[in-house]
């Protein structure tokens, strides 16, 4: 028998093992990770809930096709190393994905238990495996083994531009096959959005550092303070001996609303606010030199993960009140369900159906945000019900407003590389199967191709392009 839905009556389904977490009132005062992670016993108990379906659907729900059933089977037998090996076959950043993937829209939605409302907690298990594995000495031996199975090929040099999830994935894939990989990063620290964008309480920087160290030991070279397009031209890299280039420069250009008062002091892009706090450690000002934007009554505009990150960061930095302003309702918010849930638990207010109209100020400083009430109309092209203006406005008192309404393609490399064909939205146009751009042997993936999306989609694109590069260069 191989039924689509397994026979529940045969075995009583236990509830999901809850994730241990910092209590909301404690965590809103610190930057330590919110979710604390499973213990081995909890992980094994959760792994046992997996039905080990004959025809698993979970793997198909994963953008990088992690063999969920396979790694969970190892976990049931307490074999963390085996589980890690299964995950790592297709996922180069498991400790990151276990934390930031929207599992409820991917593997866990595809889980056969999803209709019960209690799918296997695949994301939590993935995180457990990666964390436990990295904490053990097994890491070093695995890297040594990986090196032994492939001799480095001095003649096969590949450049990765940017050091976010897509580039790191491509770099790891190619380095494991013996390519000499150089990652060029414009900022002074490696990790891209994982270090400047996602806050410590959701993704500790030490996790990113571990993944990067893993790549370094595989032979990947990292060059910080190198802006491709400025410090060195994209096609110049070929003259320097690189035989292929992967571009993963992300969608880092913040969008503004274009409403009156946006230049008032106290109005920030979420990118600026989060970069100051995460990358520059402004939360530790004045021990760190980068100034921190101060606010008691903080408003955050937007409904995605970035908006939630900004709101929860402001709360942790001592804001008296943090309000998220969104023009639709909570049901339409694009953020991970868990982020909204955590934000609400921590005391963040969400004001729905409000659209910003103007910033109001005094002596050049922000004092209020004028918003217009919206109603929900017919669904738009995204399938979500469109907000319709009602004409009614009100002013929210605020002294710090953070705009998290989305980003556009970073223009630096694109403007400097005229031969690179862009699509109508201004992102890089690639062959969907190979990831190759209009310039031969230049590949691209992640947000610079799709527009702002998720870490795991960027990783999937990095992996796809890396496989194509490896084939063209004779590595596989």
């Amino acid at each position: 028998m191989d039924a689509g839905v397994p026979a529940m009556s045969a075995r009583k389904l236990r509830p999901r093992v809850p994730m241990p977490m910092q209590p909301p009132l404690v965590r809103r005062g610190n930057f330590t990770e919110v979710a604390l992670g499973y213990s081995l016993e909890q992980a094994v108990a959760e792994a046992r809930r997996c039905l080990q379906c004959k025809k698993p659907t979970c793997q198909g729900g994963c953008p990088v096709e992690v063999d969920c059933k396979g790694f969970i089977a190892h976990l049931v037998h307490r074999d963390v190393e085996g589980a890690f090996a299964v995950i790592k076959r297709t996922n180069s950043l498991p400790a990151v994905c276990g934390r930031v993937c929207p599992q409820e829209k991917q593997c866990e939605r595809a889980c056969k238990l999803a209709p019960t409302g209690e799918p296997v907690a695949i994301g939590r298990l993935e995180r457990f495996v990666a964390d436990t594995y990295y904490a053990s000495d097994a890491c070093a031996s695995a890297i040594a083994a990986a090196k032994q199975c492939r001799l480095p090929r001095e003649d096969v040099r590949v450049a990765c531009v940017g050091s976010g999830p897509s580039s790191l994935t491509a770099a790891g894939f190619l380095a494991a096959l013996g390519a000499q990989v150089t990652v060029f990063e414009g900022l002074h620290e490696v990790g891209g959005v994982l270090v400047y964008g996602i806050p410590e309480f959701r993704l500790p920087k030490s996790i990113v550092a571990t993944e990067v160290e893993h790549l370094r030991r595989l032979g990947v070279e990292f060059r910080t303070n190198w802006v491709v397009g400025q410090t060195v031209g994209l096609t110049e890299l070929f003259h320097q001996g690189y035989r292929a280039v992967f571009v993963g420069t992300g969608a880092g250009l913040p969008q503004f609303l274009g409403i009156p008062g946006e230049s008032l002091l106290g109005v920030y892009s979420a990118n600026e606010y989060l970069t100051r706090v995460n990358l520059m450690r402004a939360y530790a000002f004045p021990r760190y030199d980068t100034p921190l934007p101060q606010g008691r009554y903080v408003t955050v505009i937007g409904g995605g993960n970035v908006a939630m990150d900004a709101a929860r960061t402001a709360l942790r930095l001592g804001a008296q009140e943090v309000t998220v302003v969104y023009r639709r309702t909570q049901a339409e918010m694009p953020c991970r369900a868990e982020e909204l849930e955590h934000a609400l638990e921590e005391g963040i207010r969400v004001r729905e159906l409000l659209a910003p109209v103007a910033f109001e100020g005094q002596d050049g400083w922000l004092s209020g945000l004028r918003v217009e009430r919206m109603a929900l109309g017919e669904p738009d092209e995204s399938g979500r019900r469109r907000p319709v203006p009602t004409g009614e406005t009100e002013v929210l008192a605020t002294d710090l407003c953070i705009i998290g309404i989305g980003t556009g393609p970073n223009p630096v490399l694109l403007r400097a590389t005229p031969g690179l064909r862009l699509n109508a939205r201004g992102y890089i146009d690639v062959d969907p199967t190979t990831g190759e751009t209009s310039i031969p042997m230049v590949f691209a993936g992640g947000d610079i191709v799709t527009g702002a999306a998720t870490v795991v989609l960027a990783m999937g694109a990095g992996r796809r392009a890396a496989r194509e590069i490896a084939q063209r260069l004779g590595l596989i």
Binding site: L187, W226, F285, P286, Q294, G364, N410
Partner: protein, 279 residues
């Protein structure tokens, strides 16, 4: 790490010139470009305009005024010491075409940044007049360097201790009256100076470029801190500039936005200095 090859205090304890070993940046640096630097692991990122570059020698020259924490820390570094992070060249280069006669106006430390642009104009064959100004003669810089390739260097000091007494705009007004063929004016310096230059050339219809000194974090288009209003449209000084049509720049907004962190900057400076005194 970027090595400091030469260091010179142009104005003792106040304005410092560093020549850095930065071959990759030097090879690409054009007039108008800037770098972002960071002095220590807890440091902030600040933009500094490239005052000169020598691709053959692999060096770039930075000139800065000691105004806050990072510039104070930078001022302490000596020759053969290194700057932790130097990233660049960033921004769009100043558009330089053969147009005939140009005037480059520089005020304060802006004279150093203007120097690179003036040199670029001279290199394409434009006849360059430099007008430089400071409160008093001892605060002037780059007069000799500019005189090497400028047809004329006009000096204006507030107290008349050197050159003409008055502001650079007074000198500019006189020069433009006597030279109706000036095709372009470039202004680099404090906001009030650039605004005054723009107001002076606007009625004369002379194309004018201002190099803006907005606050930046990453310097590559990611944060939007440096947003400026040009012709009613929001532009980013880091990736769209730093040079813009001076007649279209909203200087009031720029001046206001430069005040964003004044109190924190004072606090940070006090803290670092106090730490240093104790050390």
């Amino acid at each position: 790490m970027t090595l400091i090859l030469r260091r010179r205090e142009i104005i003792a304890g106040q304005t410092i010139e560093l020549v850095l070993h930065a071959p990759a940046i030097a090879a690409k640096a054009r007039p108008g470009h800037f770098v972002i630097l960071r002095v220590h692991p807890e440091g902030e990122r600040i933009p500094l305009t490239i005052a000169d570059a020598d691709a053959q020698a692999g060096t770039i020259t930075l000139v800065f005024l000691v105004v806050g924490t990072t510039t104070a820390l930078l001022a302490r570094l000596q020759e053969q010491e290194a700057i932790l992070d130097v990233c660049g060249p960033l921004g769009q280069p100043t558009p330089i075409r053969p147009v005939g006669e140009v005037v480059c106006v520089g005020g304060g430390t802006g004279i150093a940044a203007m120097h690179h642009i003036a040199k670029g104009h001279a290199q394409v064959g434009n006849r360059v007049t430099a007008i430089i100004g400071a409160r008093t003669a001892s605060l002037l810089l780059f007069e000799e360097e500019l005189s090497r390739f400028c047809e004329k260097v006009i000096v204006a000091t507030d107290d008349g201790s050197r050159g003409v007494r008055g502001l650079v705009t007074d000198a500019l007004r006189g020069h433009l009256a006597a030279h109706p063929g000036v095709a372009e004016v470039i202004a680099v310096g404090p906001v009030p100076m650039m605004r005054a230059v723009a107001e002076l050339t606007r009625p004369l219809g002379i194309s004018t470029v201002a190099s803006l000194n907005a606050i930046m974090v990453d310097g590559m288009g990611m944060c939007g801190a440096c947003r400026v209003r040009v012709g009613g449209v929001i532009r980013f000084a880091c990736v769209d500039g730093p040079d813009f049509d001076a007649h279209a720049v909203d200087f009031d907004e720029l001046a206001a936005r430069l005040r964003a962190f004044v109190s924190q900057e004072r606090q940070s400076y006090g803290c670092r200095c106090a730490c240093h005194e104790r050390a």
